[in-house]
Amino acid sequence: MLLDKTIKELSEGLKKGEFTSVDLVNECYDNIEKYNPKLNAFISIIPREVALKNASEIKLTTPLSGLPFVLKDCFCTEGVKTTAASKVLENFIPPYSATIYQKLINAGAILIGKMNMDVWGHGGSSENTDFGPVRNPWDTTRVAGGSGGGPAVAVATRMAVFAVGEDTGGSIRNPAGWTNTTGLKVTYGRVSRYGAIAYASSFDTVGPVAKTAQDCAIIMETIAGVDKFDATSSPNLVPEYSKLLNKKLSEITVGIPKEFYGEGLDPEIKEAVLKVATDLKNAGAKIKEISMPLFNLCIPVYYLIGPSETSSNLARYDGIRYGNNRDNFTDESIRRILIGTYALSAGYYDAYYKKAQQVRTLFIEEYKKVLSLCDVLLQPIMPNHPPKFGQLLSDPLQNLLADIYTVSQNPVGVPSLAIPCGFSKTNLPIGAQLVGKMFSEELLLSIGHQYQKLTNYHLQKPKL
């Protein structure tokens, strides 16, 4: 299958004329027809003939030219329905495009679909959606992870070459781990958020989901960079990530924060994630155990600030200027709006919202400290294998606690790369994350790339 190839291989193949963009588009749509009815990964599918017409006219100017991709349905696409998986926006046709979409189109990539997700990003299982849950291709009785379940499933099942998602507290990394794909949560501000439907503005980041770290590096070269339409985007120069993938592992120290491996972590997952350290050590890296004593406080920090910001962001949906009215929020979104409104209200602001922002400062200091003792932190992504449908939704507190490994990074702003690192006895994929200093994407992608040269977990596909 052509879609098994990396972006580099596909780009070279297109240039050499070994196959055409039309071939790639057709293969995607054949897979969509075969798999999507079982998986429900798409909210909108661009008509095949539209994508084929684009493909037949494409000029090969960049490494992404002629490659079919999908977007999480939280990015505005001019003229193409954009819902954030909510009934509130079920008929919303944006009159403008997100910066990352415009950049990808300018690079010659071909949009083929808008992907299912937890509504507004509110969830870690892609069950909290008004468009029906996304199913995990490794076991369709289980969730795909979230909030970006749709983008990850599309890449895992070769319904697209790559995807762009959004990560506010794990929404790229969690589904990457549970579907055996590679995803990058970027440093806050590294990629423009313009035209991305906001969940929690000071946590939201936009990043790639793909088959390999090298693919992510190539996508980053196109989507990253300052944007005059997003005042929080960083003016730091964008490195040529794909040319910087061979930093010597012998010069790298990998930190193991012991609190991330305590009670509550599935033993199979623990073993697989720690095996990454062993593999990197055998390849020359140094390993160091470190401590992050604040760890357990990341849930209250994240789930006070995130909902506070989301209650404010979702206040714009009035059913007057666009979209349906506020009766269309799901129970999970209502809970988050209520928590946020409560935390921001008079009398509770200091004890909840401000306190959380102060502890956030302590988290920033803690990450700074441990990342001065090592170059990257190796952490699990999810404490458990993907659950069966309904398990998480039935207990709202447990639903939040399941995010413990992915919510400390966003309040701090640091980047994290999710990579496949093994399988359970029951053949469910396991992922690990490498977390680095602000703007260390280059290093994370380099370690990820070399790890993927040593291992073949990322090459495995679900059998559907």
């Binding site: 009159p95 929080t232 209250p300 007057i320 102060q358 400062t361 309040p411």
Partner: protein, 101 residues
Amino acid sequence: MSKTIITDDVVAKVAKLARIDIPSQKISLFASQLEPILEHFESLSKVDTTNVAPTYQTTGLKTVLREDVIDTDRMFSQKQALSNAPKSSNGYFVTKATIHK
């Protein structure tokens, strides 16, 4: 912080502030779900944050300004601005009456 008690009245009040109509039979359900969540958050109260400044954003950027010019690239026509409005009339959004005689 004292022990949190999320009563039905608190949920109703907060829902009203957030402009969300929760059916009365669901108010208690939300109250019972939010109680353990806010109780879990009480762990923050044990952290000493004396003299710790709150962090509201992590960009490291300060006062990002743009030129004070009209950006016509991003201007909507009236038709575009109204294109998603559930109800419009004579080039205006139609809202519910907010003042009643």
